[in-house]
């Protein structure tokens, strides 16, 4: 669906390249987690995919069409939820009336369902909402557009603790079958239960591009006592003992993935 081919990119006022010969292919109907430290180019990659930035070389295509041409038929299939955004001073109803017609697959029912999941009503004045509430409304609208590609940049920033679980629930329940979601975040705990596929970025390169299933097939994530550290790839001391990531042995039960542990192991070069 999305093909990032050999792109190089640097910002106008910077000499150093954010990407150099970077390639990536994104398949349909998956939730991708785009992880990386601050300043590794997560948002830049989202903007490049959305066509908001132009690569110096290479191309970013959605179904074969370069996204930076910003063709209407491509934009109808891409929705970006940026980390910070502005909503106009009007009612939600008016906002939907003005913006929904741009998205041919927009679903009012899905909007209402998402708002319900976020414990909000449809009778809202956008100018009277808090930042967190605005984010919930905007994410609900984003899900309701039913675009094939939904890009979310730090979606849980600004959400309180109950809202973070509401977010996971809302995305899981309201994502359509043909939709692909890319969630860029450094708050890995907020999204780890949602993801199908993990992309880890370091400066200029993709450190990890693997499905969650593949990771769970290969590794176990568990707590062990200091005397039981055989086969451990990476460990971090915690109050419950050592949180470890180890190679999964044959016949060993699958464990829930600990994304933070995996992230640290990958960034330290212990997992490739």
């Amino acid at each position: 669906m999305i093909e990032v081919s050999n792109i190089s990119f640097s910002y106008p006022h910077q000499k150093e390249r954010v990407f150099d010969g970077f390639s990536l292919r994104l398949e349909e109907n998956k939730i991708y987690g785009l992880l990386g430290k601050n300043g590794t180019g997560k948002s830049t990659l989202l903007y490049l995919i959305a066509g908001l930035l132009r690569p110096k070389t290479g191309s970013v295509c959605c179904d074969g069409i370069a996204t930076n041409k910003r063709r209407a038929e491509v934009l109808e299939e891409i929705f970006l939820v940026p980390e910070e955004f502005d909503l106009p001073s009007m009612t939600l109803q008016r906002y939907v009336e003005l913006n929904a017609p741009f998205y041919p697959k927009f679903s009012q029912e899905r909007l209402e369902a998402c708002l319900r999941d976020f414990e909000l009503t449809t009778d809202l004045d956008l100018s009277a909402l808090s930042m967190g509430q605005k984010k919930k409304v905007f994410m609900s609208f984003a899900l309701a557009t039913n675009t094939r590609l939904l890009l979310m940049d730090e979606p849980t920033n600004g959400l309180d603790i109950p809202s973070k679980s509401q977010f996971r629930k809302t995305v899981a329940q309201n994502m359509s079958d043909e939709q692909t979601i890319i969630i860029s975040t450094h708050q890995v705990h907020d999204v780890e239960a949602l993801l199908d596929h993990i992309l880890m970025l370091n400066q200029r390169e993709l450190l990890l591009n693997a499905s969650v299933q593949e990771m769970m097939d290969k590794y176990v994530f568990e707590y062990r006592q200091p005397g039981d550290m055989d086969g451990v790839l990476y460990a971090e001391p915690t109050l419950q003992g050592n949180a470890v990531m180890a190679r999964r042995q044959e016949g060993q039960a699958e464990t829930q993935m600990n994304l933070e542990l995996l992230f640290n192991a990958v960034t330290k070069g212990l997992v490739k």
Partner: protein, 283 residues
């Protein structure tokens, strides 16, 4: 045309007008207050001036003074309106200089041509509603005031529409422009080209749009005048009317071509807009 869908264009236009109506109302209100200020100030100065003291007849003297006030207000208001038009053109994309607004605008599922055209139409309507209509309101209020205070009733409308000085030397000739339709068309063509230049500057610059555009235009004019004089283009010969008309037509074509060029460049630049750009310019 794949690049332009009327239904989608209508939606963009609706969005522009709904989101921009407050700015339009504020613009109109500010201009109305400015025009009313011109009328008030001109009255304060003009009604007691000694300019027409030589006229013996008091009624005639008053009529002349009010006529003078209308002339002054018409000229100043026209100048203010044209500056307003240029400011409107140069700040057309001011909101989109903010990253959040720019993302929302660029990600809107419509073509660049639809977005650009919609914003251009919004600008034209904004100029009329914000710059032109308030003058008629202010002039009507002034006419009403004159009528209620038993003064000679006069409108400043005629002077307002007599935008450019009518008798001045036409560049490169010894002839005066006069009131011929061709000479007036040349002057309008020049203004339209300058307006398109400010539109281009509005798309190009990220900050201080109007000031930056004015500065660049000033430098271009100084440069052009220097080259013009250095190359000895000054034409002092006396021409026939048909020569002058041919020159007018050529000038109209040149200025309208420049208008098309500036507008096209603005559109092409808009197509290449990115979410993160240089600090001062959208490149």
């Amino acid at each position: 045309m794949k690049n332009f869908n009327m239904t989608r264009f209508g939606r963009v236009l609706k969005l522009d007008f709904v989101e921009g109506r407050k700015a339009m109302m504020w613009g109109a209100l500010c201009m109305l207050l400015l025009y009313l200020f011109f009328f008030w100030f001109a009255h304060e100065i003009g009604i007691h001036s000694s300019s027409f003291d030589y006229i013996q007849d008091a009624d005639e003297r008053l009529r002349m003074r009010i006529n003078n006030i209308c002339e002054a207000v018409g000229a100043f208001s026209a100048m203010a309106m044209y500056i307003f038009f240029l400011i409107t053109a140069s700040t057309l994309y001011r909101a989109e200089q903010k990253k959040q607004q720019r993302i929302a605008w660029l990600m809107l599922p419509a073509t660049n041509l639809e977005k650009f055209t919609s914003r251009w139409i919004y600008m034209v309507v904004f100029s009329i509603v914000g710059g032109l209509l308030p003058f008629f309101v202010a002039d009507s209020i002034h006419v009403g005031y004159l009528w209620m205070t038993d003064n000679p009733v006069m409108s400043a409308g005629d002077d307002f529409f007599r935008i450019f000085p009518h008798t001045r030397k036409f560049p490169g000739t010894n002839e005066y422009t006069g009131d011929s339709p061709l000479s007036v068309t040349v002057e309008y063509a020049v203004f339209i080209a300058i307006h398109a230049f400010f539109l281009l500057a509005g798309v190009f610059f990220k900050k201080f749009h109007f000031i930056a555009a004015s500065a660049v235009l000033f430098l271009l004019l100084v440069g052009w005048a220097t080259i013009y004089n250095a190359l000895g283009f000054r034409d002092t010969a006396v021409h026939t009317q048909s020569d002058i008309n041919a020159k007018y037509i050529m000038m109209i074509v040149i200025w309208l071509s420049l208008t098309a060029l500036f507008t096209w460049l603005a559109y092409r630049l808009f197509c290449r807009w990115q979410v993160v750009t240089h600090k001062f310019a959208n490149v």
